[in-house]
Symmetry: C2
């Protein structure tokens, strides 16, 4: 019945999603401020049309949060669905095969910025809700909180949550913003890394200089920055910031064994990425490196002349964006401080260094024995015919820790993306199959959650 | 008489130069191809108006070379004036206080791209020639060869010179494309560093990745590039490329002493650059580091997300432009090979590395005991009332070695810029005083050269 309804309405579901994907709601870029609001309004309308009550755009200091709810019976449990309607910047634009904000279907996949992260994923919940309403299957309560600042650190969500504890009262948070192992092997994310995101600027001379006249006598900030970045890892691939590993929860032998049991084909992994060798912290497997170990990566670097041809300039400034993925029990504010202190301490006197923190997010582990996690497992088993495997995910959803702290709620991360979906990259995409089976699985979740 | 003529006509001289400066003849940027030709035509017209014969644009595979001459008496010696009418790209544009191609006078200085390098400097020769013609003072012969590819490595000049040996027959090359110590202390450049300019590209995964999903397990090309660049210098500031110093001519104790006698105020130098400390190869003074020691500098670096805000991307590629200043007897082709071999050898297997060579230039030392050098000295003494000091300059004019090799001619580098003129930088400028006194000094040079 459910599957049939989805099949009958799939063209409409997709065309509704496409309309949302066409709105360039890039929260990081102030030029897109109106687009971000337009996306929020679109989400609010979708919720209203699906049958939600009290739908509203709740203002914050930044972009608005869309709220809506359906209270069937106040004595019954409540699921709070979280998602985000903002997207990453689409750069570099020239690597997209089709424009990022003109969703295009190729090989059964929807190509567009936000297709998977997270418009395509949270929209499944709105469609699942529509189905539950249409078929009068909703026996518990559901609330929606779809924000517009996830890609820039959810800066205003904390204040919002604290100010609206009563409104957000629920029993569990449900989020689809993570990946499955594959379409043949369902999984539920049970752990997420945190994030500390920094920007550094190294200034040498007060202006760009002629490298012939000054080269060799004046510190070159690009060379200095390279040296400083290089020194952030030792020869074993470990981060050298003092104190960085102090609070890292080391997994027990049994936990490591369990983690490494997840299906993983290193040859396939390398082939799919076009690399000859993986690289990372010595003594850990790839699954451990991405799941339970903290990291430090340059996300962007720039300085001097980057145009066509040759310009013999000794740049005045060089900059980098550097982020660290954190694991339990590292705290982003503490890591941000350790990084800042260390980075300033390694700067030679010949340059000036500025360190700025972008956003951070707490690492989180979600329980696998809760009623909600079990409902999710049962839903997968019913729809996919297979038990899902609990996994540790590399990405950060900082709000999982926030919800635990402020609302006392655990989260179930029921994501339907794939690691190959090119999130944050050119040609981001989301399988139509993932989208449709996701809707069906979410419907099943609500059923199992209400009737365990 | 000469000084009076210059004073009377200085407004016209400047407005002619300004018209040339308004042409954005950026040779590195193919979008400016027509502007480069327009500048060549402007130079040709200026030569004709000043009284030169046989003025023509001589085609090359790239931008044309402007030739013109005045043969007074074929039995008398000939001065071949070299200059270049192309300019460096103006980026970064937002740091210019006034637009790069709208020459503006502030504090007695002309602000514009090319004001000093080299439009303002070679144009002095055309105006000095006008004066010599007007006053019937030219008793030797003069030829002009003004090219349009100096800022991109003078790729086609070698072929041109070889094909036109008879036409270019002369006794000495005269170039104004270098700097004075100061307006109080004239100097003539007697040595120039060579150049080897490389571009490197490090590729990790075949697409930008989500740093949360893949970070820690896949080599990040920006981190790898930083590490590779950092390894190119040792803790003493020496370049680590094997063989890099093998052919470097070490100065004798006496030569080092002479070099360090040039007036130099380190405190003033640091203050003017806004730096607290200089930095360079251990065991050498700043004058030695910029004059007689080879160097390696990053001229540009880029990769990943460089826009506003935060994007948690693990970039697919990171690149850098890296150039080396060379001293006698390093050869750019050999250094290019050593760099390439070394850079490829230090790449980890987790990435792919591509190395491309831009242009190179031979280092050169010019004799200080030639008739032409003595005429230049006498000219400075007459006009400035002070003997000029011979200096070693950090910059590269690769054609000096080319002229020696192909035409058998020595060069006199009689430049009138200042190291603070912001060549290749935003807000490049050239003192009006330098421009006018330069014209007068060049007139005096021709007089002394003809009647030693």
């Amino acid at each position: 019945m459910i599957r049939e309804y989805i099949q009958t309405h799939q063209d409409r579901f997709l065309s509704e999603l496409f309309e949302l994907l066409r709105i360039p709601s890039v929260s990081a870029d102030s030029r897109h401020k109106n687009d971000v609001r337009k996306a929020a309004e679109y989400v609010a309308n979708s919720l209203r049309e699906a049958g939600a009550d009290h739908v509203q755009l709740m203002e914050t200091k930044g972009h608005p949060i869309v709220f809506g709810e359906k209270i069937m019976d106040a004595s019954k449990p409540t699921v709070l669905v979280y998602g985000h309607y903002d997207v990453q910047p689409p750069d570099p634009l020239d690597l997209w095969h089709t424009p990022p904000f003109e969703p295009t279907v190729r090989d059964g996949k929807i190509y567009a910025r936000g297709a998977c992260d997270d418009k395509g994923q949270f929209y499944m919940h709105i469609k699942a809700f529509e189905i539950l309403m249409k078929h009068k299957l909703l026996s518990c309560n559901v609330k929606f909180m779809i924000e517009g600042e996830e890609e820039v650190g959810s800066d205003n969500l904390g204040t919002f949550v604290v100010a609206n504890k009563e409104k957000l009262k629920a029993d569990v948070i449900l989020i689809s913003d993570t990946s499955l192992i594959s379409l043949n092997q369902p999984s539920i994310t049970a752990g997420l890394r945190g994030l500390s995101y920094m920007e550094v600027e190294v200034t040498g001379p007060n202006r760009d200089l002629h490298s012939g006249v000054y080269g060799g006598a004046v510190a070159n900030p690009a060379n200095v920055l390279a040296k400083m970045i290089a020194s952030l890892h030792d020869e074993n691939g470990r981060v050298t910031i003092p104190g960085f590993y102090d609070k890292v929860a080391e997994l027990s032998g049994a936990d490591r064994e369990a983690l490494n049991k997840a299906p993983f084909d290193l040859t396939e992994y390398k082939k799919e990425l076009g690399i000859e060798e993986v690289q990372g912290e010595k003594g850990y497997t790839t699954l451990e490196r991405t799941g339970v170990r903290p990291t430090l990566d340059v996300n962007g670097i720039w300085g001097g002349y980057t145009g066509e041809g040759a310009k013999t300039v000794l740049p005045s400034k060089a900059s980098a964006k550097i982020s660290m993925r954190l694991v339990p029990h590292q705290r982003p504010d503490e890591i941000t401080q350790l990084f800042t202190k260390h980075f300033l301490s390694i700067a030679p006197k010949s340059v000036k260094v500025k360190v700025t923190a972008h956003h951070g997010g707490e690492p989180a582990v979600t329980p696998t024995d809760s009623k909600a996690f079990k409902a999710a497992s049962a839903a997968f088993k019913e729809v996919w015919g297979k038990e899902p495997i609990p996994t540790r995910d590399g990405g950060s959803i900082p709000i999982v820790a926030l919800f635990k702290k402020e609302l006392g709620l655990d989260t179930v991360l029921m994501g339907f993306g794939l690691d190959t979906d090119a999130l944050h990259s050119p040609n981001e995409h989301y399988g139509i199959k993932n989208f449709l089976i996701g809707i069906e699985t979410i419907v099943a979740f609500h059923k199992h959650f209400a009737n365990p």
